[in-house]
């Protein structure tokens, strides 16, 4: 179990203990017997086992007209074209100890290699900007998935002769939220749109204007963990962490 997960209260019991039973998959992957009784259930290695933490509604259901999912990774997984289970990517079989077993490092949004493998990116010039295409490949859910505060930043800037930004544009791929007061006087978050790549290629047109026509364009795609401490405006977010997926430069138009 990663220390970071343990520090926020995620431990063995989070997944493995239900009532008085210690749950495990149907097939033992270790040669040695467990030092305690196990309740083996094939559903434990299926995606449904992850739903408790990765598919749930906002806890303020009483104040909402209808419930809304705060995290919807399993629904996204069902809509995706993958047949792989959650554990096949996030708990890959790994050697170590007495036998091969499922990794409990839970690779995810903090694993740069895994994040970069989620989409392939292609960029080309347009007359006054850049066209950037994101094609999901090694991902079985919307990218990014999980909590409210993750997004993909797709950006481009036309670069002048002094390395100055002559024009810039950016787009954020995420579940987009708005805050609005409910009839009960509390402020609720509700999703307004979702433009994350899921299974089909996503084409982003970034318009930089005529000033960019004769200048090279730097483009960049980054996975960001953001917080919105002050508003839901994308530009107001504070970036708590970032993984650059890829970046490049497009020469000026001939």
């Amino acid at each position: 179990m990663p220390e970071a997960a343990a520090s926020i209260g995620v431990g063995c019991v989070t997944c493995h203990v239900v009532g008085k039973d210690v749950l495990a998959g149907a097939v033992a992957s270790r040669a040695q017997p467990a030092p305690h009784p196990l309740l083996r259930d094939p559903r434990f290695v299926g995606s449904a086992a992850c739903s408790g933490c990765h598919e749930f509604a906002f806890p303020d259901r009483g104040a909402r007209g209808k419930p809304e999912l705060m995290q919807a990774t399993l629904s996204e997984h069902a809509r995706s074209q993958t047949s792989a289970s959650c554990s096949s990517c996030h708990m890959p079989l790994t050697a170590g100890g007495t036998s091969a077993h499922r990794s409990h490092a839970f690779a995810g949004g903090h694993d740069a290699e895994l994040v970069r493998s989620a989409v392939s990116v292609a960029a080309e010039r347009t007359e006054h900007g850049a066209r950037i295409t994101l094609t999901p490949r090694n991902v079985g859910h919307a990218f990014p998935t999980g909590d409210l505060f993750r997004r993909i930043e797709v950006s481009a800037e036309a670069v002048g002769p002094e390395w100055q930004v002559a024009a810039s544009a950016s787009r954020y791929l995420a579940r987009h939220w708005q805050r609005q007061p409910s009839p009960f006087g509390v402020v609720l978050r509700s999703a307004t749109r979702d433009d994350r790549p899921l299974s089909a290629p996503l084409v982003i047109e970034l318009e930089l204007g005529p000033a960019a026509a004769n200048l090279p364009i730097d483009w960049r795609v980054a996975y960001q963990r953001v917080d919105h401490p002050r508003s839901e405006r994308e530009q107001d977010a504070s970036v708590d962490g970032e993984i650059e997926i890829t970046s490049g430069a497009l020469e000026k138009n001939p």
Binding site: G160, Q164, V187, R230
Partner: protein
């Protein structure tokens, strides 16, 4: 926590200082009461260590406020520090939106709920009086929402039911008060103050009460304490209470607050309220009576303390020495009280009073006449913040205290000033600006760290008139910028025009800005080369 955002004399929250000798004899231990008031532990009986730790020195006018779980240290210019958990954090963004040159505006209070229902009140002079403005935090800056009419002021904002924020608006001089709903579902009945029979447009006595303290309870009840004006020349203490959801109130004159016998008049000061619930309310005040036995007029001071048990008011002996000057209620039902010596006492949920010693301060605070409790915020059990001041030298010092150690040191004044400079947004190039700046370029992410701007230097070559310019790089939100500090806007405009003409793709802007630079480039304007 300072409860009233107030004008003039109403601003004091914990007024200590010398007073005349109380006229009442030493109070015997009070009888057991439904509220569980029992005799206090003597302050001087032992010298237990203080639960408070000195976190650091704060500005000379700083006060504590709270919005839900988040605390704020305010100066008259705005939010100086945030109290996030045990951390003391500077967030310069929280000064955005307020006037940049606040010579005539004073930030009085912050209240509500962070971050979605946060309110700030200011006062400004106007004519012979002034007015208040309520500002709402929109996520990016403070925006002006409501202002009172002249001579009326916002006296506190408190969380009410279902996330609503209730404010009290009160006339500065006359007896006239009303509640405002600042935010939250408007479909609710607002409590209304009872009005006097002579309520005329220019009467001094419009509502029965002039409020010294009030409390909106999470259960919906509202309680207000103050002096009553509809009783002729006598102005007794009275409490107005509203049941949850009620428009009309119950107004009760507190017992033993009207002159009687040879007492000619009674005046009240340091009036304070501690509402643990709608049926467990304490009030305290300093009573100043004028007696007139024959021609020998006398002025006497005594402590007034009373309790409401849900049915009736009962006068009690002051529970702590030197009277109760101010009260604060902690979420778990513990009541804190300060006295005229600025000692702090706590009353447990079972009714025992105990002295809470102050820590040793860096400056000499042994002389109580030089020590003052400025504000207190009991956030929760074992989690109490305070600001205290001393006058150990002619300038005085003010300290932030907390009952838990700070994980990280409090920002120093120098660090705060530097961060404010860093966060300051460029302003418009107005005549009053003392820091003209030419913002030449936002640099691309991939610009080299040691880039030396050959095209810009070539443009500047031979332009000795720019010798007073300071060419600098600075960073903000992870991006790098290049610009020039200018001695005046006239020269700045000339530089902007030159660079725009000579460097393709550049659009320099003239702004008022004083960024903390990360690099300064010394350009030889004669040769256009960079001096090493």
């Amino acid at each position: 926590m300072k409860e009233l955002a107030i004008w003039g004399a109403l601003a004091a929250i914990a007024c200590g200082g010398p007073t005349t000798v109380p006229t009442k004899p030493a109070a015997p231990p009070p009888p057991a009461s439904p509220s569980g008031t029992t005799a206090p532990t003597a302050a001087g009986a032992s010298t237990p260590s203080s639960p408070f730790k000195v976190i650091g020195e704060v500005g000379g006018d700083n006060q504590l406020f709270a919005a839900g779980e988040r605390g704020f240290v305010l100066s008259q210019f705005g939010v100086e520090l945030e109290l996030v958990g045990d951390e003391i954090v500077q967030e310069p963004l929280l000064k955005r939106g307020l006037p940049a040159e606040p010579f005539m505006i004073s930030v009085e209070a912050i209240a509500g709920r962070w971050p979605d229902a946060l309110w700030l009140s200011t006062t400004e002079p106007s004519g012979r009086s002034g007015y208040s403005t309520a500002w709402s935090w929109d996520g990016k800056s403070w925006s002006r929402k409501q202002r009172t009419t002249e001579g009326h002021f916002i006296n506190g904002v408190q969380p009410w039911t279902s996330g609503r924020m209730l404010a009290l608006k009160q006339a500065g001089m006359a007896f006239e008060a009303s509640f405002l709903l600042l935010s939250g579902d408007p479909h609710v009945t607002l409590p209304e103050f009872s009005r006097t029979k002579q309520a005329e447009p220019f009467a001094m006595c419009m509502t029965n009460l002039r409020i010294d303290a009030w409390r909106a309870l999470p259960s919906g009840e509202v309680v207000a304490l103050g002096m009553r004006c509809d009783t002729g020349d006598d102005m007794p203490l009275a409490v107005e209470r509203w049941a949850a959801g009620a428009k009309n109130s119950t107004l009760t004159t507190l017992p033993e607050t009207l002159p009687s016998g040879d007492v000619k008049s009674v005046e009240w000061s340091s009036t304070t309220l501690g509402a643990l619930s709608a049926s467990d309310i304490f009030v305290a005040s300093l009573k100043e009576t004028t007696t007139n036995p024959g021609n020998d007029q006398r002025w006497l001071k005594s402590d007034y303390f009373a309790h409401f048990d849900g049915k009736s008011w009962q006068v009690l002996p002051a529970p702590i020495p030197e009277g109760v000057s101010q009260m604060w209620v902690e979420s778990d039902g513990v009541l804190f009280a300060s006295n005229r010596k600025d000692e702090l006492w706590s009353r447990s949920v079972t009714g025992e009073w105990a002295h809470v010693p102050w820590p040793e301060l860096p400056a000499d605070a042994a002389d109580v006449s030089k020590f003052k409790l400025e504000s207190l915020w009991p956030r929760g059990p074992g989690d109490v913040w305070a600001i205290v001041s001393t006058l150990a030298n002619e300038y005085g010092h003010r300290y932030l205290l907390h009952t838990r150690a700070a994980p990280h040191p409090m920002p120093t004044e120098e660090a705060k000033a530097e961060k404010e400079r860093e966060y300051a947004l460029p302003g418009p190039p107005v005549d009053s600006c003392t820091t003209p700046f030419v913002l030449l370029y936002t640099l691309a992410r991939k610009s080299p760290a040691d880039y030396d701007y050959p095209a810009t230097r070539e443009a500047l070559k031979g332009h000795g008139e720019f010798s007073a310019m300071k060419f600098v790089e600075f960073e903000r939100d992870g991006r790098k910028f290049f610009g020039a500090r200018a001695p005046d806007f006239k020269l700045g405009k000339k530089l902007a025009q030159l660079v725009q003409d000579k460097v393709p793709g550049s659009t320099p802007q003239l702004v008022c800005h004083d960024p903390a630079h990360t690099r300064q480039l010394d350009i030889d304007l004669k040769s256009g080369k960079l001096r090493q």
